[in-house]
């Protein structure tokens, strides 16, 4: 751990040395970083594996075991049975249309509902991709419009562990998500559960109310060969894949859920480690892209190795990639430091870069993170 900490401090120091500080005399626009300075920062902060063995990493990523696709496991009747129970449900008229007028798979959703969406009554909706290769499912529910009294609302008491368990069971049993793509948490790790609250101005003297628990689950794939963090015993054992799931629960159980972009993915038989970019090319590509946005400021640069998807209309092809998170501001600035950011760059930037070379004609339009 000490070696890792020393390594991380060194990286942070290099990053800070390269990032420019705010000049009170030129408020709003410090000196931008040069392309070379950005490239140096990319090289210094990127995961070692991206510099030491890109081809091996690409092969490793392409070897992950894949769960059964939602197009095979999602059962609309089962999902609707859980969502609506004994409530009648109305199918939207276009649910029967599976293709566009030119014969392509319809990328829209089929929506079932109970109640009037625009009304004041209770309303429940289940929407799912007509082409389930897209991997979108949404369950929303609201109560009837009524005046609320904060003094009479009780906070949800559901514990985080129970929420996590309930969410996973729901997603697997009723939405058909493959359990293997929802990794078990290592021992001692808190479940990915947050409390959603409503708060009030302090003068009101009202305590915040927990209205639900939400569980956030990122699709993941287990690496055949875990990647060791140099100098430590820590291992990267799973990588994120295309797809996110969120489940909302209260003390009655699951009251909402969303699965987004949990695409059917397949391997591209033409792709292997031999398709990998060189590290130098990858570094330059990332640096050029960041430079073209203005060159900084950059308070931190973080990387995430992922399996993306090259969308092909009914399914995606696995695409080894790296996401880069560029934050222009420090993690916890003081209030004075925040005010010094006046008229400066503050929004973070997230970009995704393929780890493999692709022919221009192979790059499909639905590559959501592709650099603009």
């Amino acid at each position: 751990m000490k070696l890792q900490q020393r390594m991380l401090w060194g990286v942070a120091a290099a990053g800070l040395a390269l990032a420019y500080s705010y000049d009170a005399g030129a408020q709003g626009e410090p000196r931008p970083l040069s392309r070379e300075e950005i490239a140096a920062m990319v090289r210094d902060t990127m995961p070692p594996i991206l510099k030491s063995d890109l081809p091996g990493l690409v092969d490793n990523l392409l070897s992950v075991p894949l769960g059964k696709p939602l197009s095979e496991t999602f059962d609309p009747s089962r999902a609707a049975g859980r969502v609506f129970g004994r409530l009648p449900r109305t199918f939207a008229a276009d649910c029967l249309r599976k293709t566009t007028p030119v014969g392509d798979p319809d990328q829209g959703d089929c929506t079932l509902s109970n109640g009037e969406e625009g009304g004041t009554g209770a309303y429940t909706r289940l929407s799912y991709s007509k082409n389930m290769g897209s991997g979108n499912i949404k369950f929303l529910k609201r109560g009837a419009v009524q005046d609320l009294d904060p003094g009479k609302l009780a906070s949800v008491k559901l514990g985080d562990a129970d929420a996590d368990k309930g969410a996973r069971e729901f997603l697997v049993s009723f939405f058909g998500l493959p359990a293997a793509e929802l990794p078990d948490l290592p021992a001692g790790v808190r479940p990915p559960v947050r409390s959603l609250l409503i708060g009030f101005d302090k003068k009101a003297g009202l305590a915040p109310i927990v209205i639900q628990k939400t569980v956030h689950l990122q699709r993941s794939f287990k690496l055949a060969k875990p990647i060791q963090v140099p100098g430590t015993k820590q291992m990267l054992t799973h990588v994120p894949g295309p797809g996110m799931a969120m489940v909302a629960l209260d003390d009655t159980g699951v009251i909402g859920a969303a699965v987004q972009d949990w695409q059917d993915v397949r391997r591209d038989p033409r792709m292997s480690g031999n398709s990998a970019k060189t590290s130098a090319d990858l570094i330059q590509e990332i640096a050029d892209d960041i430079y073209e946005e203005g060159g900084g400021p950059i308070a931190s640069m973080k990387f995430r190795i992922v399996l993306g998807s090259d969308w092909r209309g009914s399914h995606g092809l696995l695409l080894p990639a790296v996401q880069v998170f560029v934050a222009p501001v420090a993690n916890d600035p003081t209030e004075d430091q925040q005010q010094q950011m006046a008229r400066s760059t503050t929004a973070g930037m997230v970009r995704e870069y393929a780890l493999v070379r692709r022919l221009e004609g192979d790059i499909q339009q639905r590559d959501p993170f592709a650099a603009n």
């Binding site: 709003g28 626009e29 995961p47 625009g118 949404k138 929303l140 529910k141 609201r142 009524q146 005046d147 609320l148 904060p150 790790v189 990915p192 947050r194 959603l196 609250l197 409503i198 708060g199 009030f200 101005d201 302090k202 003068k203 009101a204 209205i211 956030h216 990122q218 993941s220 990647i227 291992m235 994120p240 969303a258 987004q260 946005e293 203005g294 060159g295 400021p297 973080k302 995430r304 190795i305 998170f325 934050a327 222009p328 420090a330 993690n331 916890d332 209030e335 925040q338 950011m341 006046a342 008229r343 400066s344 760059t345 503050t346 929004a347 973070g348 930037m349 970009r351 959501p368 603009n372």
Partner: protein, 308 residues
């Protein structure tokens, strides 16, 4: 009759008198977007700040979905979509600040539901947003708290979505309501909701779907719930490379906040919990109270964990 329906009738009559343009459906909101993705260097006479090329596309995903839901994006050839261009304070400020301000028509306070996108900062007790060019010496727009530049709702705004860093910081919540009314021009008209972020937010074309879903879901469930649940990024931003799932606690959040005003805590709560793009109450009778929706302990880059 709700305020929105009444104003739509007024607009429809005005439109009929002025031109042969088709008036929008009586239940449609006027929807507007003002976004900067291409900032102008100070050396070129602009206000500086780095580009974020994907940003206009993100908020356009919201605007387009609202249009697909039947809301009114403006007349053909002159839609309520303002990207880059001469984006200055003049488009956001209220005439009570400067008589030449144009928020009432056709800019920030013209839409019933408006989204703006720009770099932001915490200006003490309120939010500030970077503009492309200076106007009367001002390179930013400031809203809420002690600032007197922005006064929404005295014209048309019901829902104001602020895709901008620090636009709903935990220490500035008390001041947001001051930007949601203008007692100098109206004692009865007010904005209903302000939605923003605590700390920084993140720009990516991969996040367009969050904005599209905000628009879609905000017709089935409350706008507040839709904003917060669709924009929350849970322990997934800026993680160390070996910790993509936050098992080692290295990740940060993106922290959306939805905020409603009312005459009392109960009134603000009721509005926050119930108002949708297709279900709008009449204007709050005061901004005396507010309620807000958030995730406990949300910890973004640029701020400490949400703790008002």
């Amino acid at each position: 009759m709700t305020r929105t329906r009444m104003r739509l009738l007024q607009r429809a009559c005005a439109a009929a008198l002025l031109s042969a343009a088709v008036a929008p459906n009586a239940s449609a909101l006027y929807v507007e977007m003002l976004a900067i993705g291409d900032f102008v260097p100070t050396a070129s006479g602009g206000c500086g700040a780095d580009d974020r090329g994907s940003w206009p596309g993100m908020v356009q995903a919201w605007w387009d979905e609202m249009g697909a839901r039947g809301h009114y994006k403006g007349p053909a050839g002159s839609q309520y979509r303002y990207v880059n261009g001469n984006m200055t304070l003049q488009r956001f400020c209220d005439p009570s600040f400067n008589a030449n301000c144009l928020d009432a028509y056709p800019y920030a306070d013209w839409g019933d539901a408006t989204i703006i996108a720009t770099h932001g900062w915490d200006a003490g007790d309120h939010w500030g947003g970077v503009m492309r060019y200076p106007w009367n010496g001002f390179c930013g727009v400031e809203a809420g708290g002690s600032s007197n530049q922005v006064r929404l709702g005295d014209s048309w705004t019901v829902f104001m979505h602020v895709s901008s860093c620090f636009s709903a910081d935990d220490d500035n919540l008390d001041g947001i309501r001051h930007a949601m009314q203008d007692l100098a021009t109206s004692s009865t008209r007010r904005a209903h909701q302000w939605d923003g972020f605590h700390g920084i937010m993140w720009i990516s074309s991969g996040y367009n779907g969050n904005y599209r879903e905000t628009a879609a879901d905000g017709h089935s469930v409350s706008v507040a719930y839709s904003w917060v649940t669709n924009h929350h990024k849970n322990n997934s931003q800026g993680c160390e490379w070996y910790d993509p799932f936050n098992w080692f606690g290295t990740c940060q959040d993106q922290c959306p906040v939805a905020y409603s005003i009312g005459s009392s805590g109960a009134d603000a709560l009721t509005r926050l919990n119930n108002e949708r793009y297709n279900f709008v109450y009449s204007d709050p009778t005061s901004n005396a109270a507010y309620a807000y929706m958030y995730y406990a302990g949300c910890n973004p880059v640029g701020e400490t964990a949400f703790n008002p």
